[in-house]
């Protein structure tokens, strides 16, 4: 009797597993390549990063043998010291604040300008596809080339922007040399880079909104604002919820624009968390434990942000 029960208990999950497998094998098979490669290339460094972040490992004390040189392994477990160091450092709060400001301003401008242009482009008119090509052009320019162009345009002495200002009778602006204007400059460059993607994505979203809805609203006497508020915005939500989330993640970690345009300067004014973490980790003797801890802090901040965001969306009836 007892044996019987055990046998059925054991059999049940197995047949359950088989049933699961037969029902889901194609879904698993279709996601498997990506999942496996990601687990190896990102998952492994991630797990190792968690471990390293709890030690004091640097380039100098991780054991290795290179030719005739034998370096003994002398790093130690230090618990949460790296994390407390980061969170209590004088720089952290300031960098975090600026990173949040940078992210919020950039994403808000991306979405509002992108939506505005998408609305304009989403009507029949002459030259529509020409406008679209011209407006999307910045997306086709590699980010490091863009940062380089902007550094040249904004050069205080021989940049064309200041030349135009001077020609118009204004004084030149220290675009990249003044802490405030440098912040404006990096945001401007990033907005220029990021608007085309938002515009295209939102344009696709607009075109997916059934036209009958607008016609019905028109018949009911809805004002343009009411139509925008009650048809366009809800209709865009499937697209906008995704692009806003991704845009936030990308902007938060936007390394090239800051690093190539201002190198975090002047005097560290435009340094965001990622560029700061990179500097901490790779300037001089590489601090593997510190950089891992920084990576974890950044990841944790983004995961919290994404969770809150998803939860808010789910309350409004979004899937997953």
């Amino acid at each position: 009797m007892t044996a019987d029960v055990v046998a059925t208990r054991r059999a049940a999950p197995r047949s359950g597993a088989r049933r699961l497998l037969s029902r889901h094998w194609y879904a698993w098979a279709m996601t498997a390549p990506v999942v496996i490669v990601t687990l190896v290339l990102v998952g492994y460094p991630l797990v190792r990063g968690v471990y390293l972040s709890l030690t004091d490992a640097t380039e100098g004390n991780m054991g290795r043998t290179i030719g005739m040189n034998v370096i003994p392994s002398t790093y130690e477990f230090v618990g949460l010291k790296n994390y407390t160091d980061i969170l209590t450092s004088a720089e952290f709060l300031g960098r975090l604040t600026w990173t949040v400001v940078w992210t919020v301003v950039c994403v808000a401008l991306h979405v509002s300008i992108g939506l505005g242009l998408a609305l304009l482009l989403n009507r029949p008119m002459r030259l529509r596809s020409l406008y679209r090509i011209l407006l999307v052009l910045p997306w086709a320019v590699p980010a490091f080339v863009s940062a380089f162009i902007w550094r040249y345009l904004l050069n205080g002495e021989f940049g064309v922007v200041n030349a135009m200002l001077r020609a118009a009778g204004f004084a030149g602006v220290s675009w990249l040399d003044d802490p405030f204007w440098a912040k404006v400059s990096v945001i401007a460059c990033n907005v220029w880079l990021g608007v085309p993607f938002m515009m295209l994505a939102l344009l696709g979203g607009l075109q997916a909104i059934p036209r009958e809805l607008y016609e019905a609203a028109e018949v009911d006497g809805a004002t343009p604002w009411q139509r925008f508020r009650h048809i366009t915005l809800p209709g865009l939500r499937p697209v906008s919820s995704t692009v806003v989330l991704l845009g936030t993640i990308w902007t938060f970690n936007q390394f090239p624009v800051i690093f190539l345009l201002t190198r975090g300067g002047p005097g560290g004014a435009t340094e965001i968390l990622v560029t700061y973490a990179y500097r901490q980790a790779f300037e001089g003797i590489r601090n593997y434990s510190g950089s891992a801890a920084w990576g974890m802090v950044i990841l944790a901040l983004l995961v919290v942000m994404a969770t809150v965001y998803r939860r808010a969306l789910r309350q409004q009836g979004e899937a997953w």
């Binding site: 290795r64 043998t65 290179i66 002495e157 002047p266």
Partner: protein, 431 residues
């Protein structure tokens, strides 16, 4: 479709297998072979050259041809690696044991760091160190770490005061300023009498050093493990810079692309003086005010402060990767490339300053006027702290200098902050 899936799966499985059996501790490499007769040595030497790919690289490639002719069994794989990427790229490759070159052209400021990390082969007693007594002592010191030789000096350089003779003459000076006090006076006179600016500053920590050295200061005192960047001497040096900016003797410096903006102003005749090194000669002589009148271009030692005239030693060393599979061939390669004859050839063709005394008098070298031009400034060259953390010391000072030049702070609080940052980098050093 299916083919794609399987190949991706295989790749993933392979990757898993690798993660299981190692965490990048690198392969152990072969033990150094007993030194063989030079003519018998064979192999391939991969050399990462960080020199300017368009102007300097071709000359080094010519010398490589001579080397291959002398040692027919050795092949040289020349790779030009942009200087800006080289340090990171080498360190990433060196720690993993795969992909690193056999020989690297290493900035003098990197040698101690690489050596302390076990990336470099000690060269004492190998053919790479040949006639060491010929080397100029200051550049030679850059290749040493903990009493061993890891780098063989390739070229050397330092900063000098470059000036526009016509502008100085217009302001009433036949000679460039020899002291920091004169520098300010001359600059202000140029400004008031010619309409051009006096001095262009490059807002970069390295370019602060002549001012700091001039007053007897430095970043650190290596012997006593002391951080000296906020010492009264260093403060006095940086105060000179602050005064040059606030008094208008120096034009308002750009903080981004600072080097390029300063150079552009100098080449266009918009300022009369600039601190820069021999590498900028060709660039300057192509500028508007020097192109048709090269005699207008003057080079002088950096002006002296109250203690001395001192400017930072720069340049590059040849280093050999410890994990190289071709150590013997690499040693011979370094020996050949750093020989007096090769150096004289480079000096003659490119005007890069040799590190061996005899190369200065070789006819090939003396044919290039630049060599003689820079001999005096070279005499002011000061050894930098050759410690593993040296490369980390610049960033905090650059940030401080940017704030100073932007008018957001003054010298003392700025250097106090920098000293605090140094305490985080140099564990256990005193202030």
């Amino acid at each position: 479709m299916r083919r794609v899936l399987t190949s991706a799966a295989v790749a993933a499985a392979l990757a898993l297998a690798v993660t299981a059996c190692g965490d990048g501790s690198g392969d152990t490499g072969t033990a150094p072979a007993k030194s063989a007769a030079p003519a018998e040595v064979s192999g391939t030497v991969t050399w990462w050259d960080t020199s300017d790919a368009t102007t300097e690289g071709p000359v080094f490639q010519e010398i490589i041809k001579d080397f291959e002719a002398r040692y027919p069994k050795i092949k040289v794989n020349y790779v030009n690696v942009p200087f800006a990427n080289a340090r990171d790229k080498f360190k990433t490759a060196a720690q993993s044991g795969a992909g690193a070159p056999d020989v690297l052209r290493t900035d003098v400021g990197w040698v101690a760091e690489f050596a302390s990390l076990g990336y470099l082969a000690p060269l004492d007693g190998t053919p790479a160190v040949d006639k060491p007594e010929e080397f100029l002592p200051v550049p030679a010191a850059s290749g040493k770490f903990n009493g061993k030789t890891y780098g063989v000096p390739q070229v050397t350089d330092t900063l000098g005061l470059l000036y526009n003779k016509e502008l100085l003459k217009k302001a009433g000076y036949d000679q460039p300023p020899a002291t920091m006090a004169d520098l300010k006076k001359v600059a202000l006179d140029v400004k008031s009498k010619t309409g051009a600016g006096g001095l262009a500053l490059n807002v970069d920590a390295y370019f602060l050093l002549p001012f700091i050295y001039g007053e007897g200061g430095d970043f650190v005192d290596v012997q006593n493990k002391k951080i000296t960047i906020s010492s009264p001497q260093s403060v006095a040096g940086v105060k000179i810079v602050e005064d040059l900016i606030t008094s208008g003797a120096a034009v308002k410096p750009a903080l981004q692309d600072s080097y390029t903006n300063a150079e552009t102003a100098f080449k266009d005749g918009k300022v009369a003086m600039i601190f820069n090194g021999p590498w900028s000669n060709a660039d300057n002589l192509g500028g508007k005010v020097f192109k048709d009148n090269p005699d207008n271009f003057g080079v002088a030692p950096v002006p002296a402060g109250s203690v001395k005239a001192g400017s930072p030693l720069g340049g590059h060393d040849y280093t050999v990767y410890a994990g190289s599979k071709n150590l013997d061939a690499s040693y011979l390669f370094v020996q050949f490339m750093a020989s007096a004859e090769s150096q004289a050839k480079v000096a003659g063709k490119l005007g890069l300053l040799p590190t061996r005394q005899p190369a200065y008098s070789a006819p090939e070298a003396t044919a290039n006027p630049k060599i003689a031009q820079w001999q005096k400034p070279m005499e002011t060259a000061v050894e930098r702290p050759w410690i593993p953390e040296a490369a980390s010391l610049f960033q905090p000072l650059v940030e401080g200098y940017q704030k100073l030049a932007g008018g957001q702070t003054t010298t003392e609080p700025m250097l106090t902050d920098v000293a605090t940052a140094y305490q985080g980098i140099l564990k256990g050093w005193s202030l």
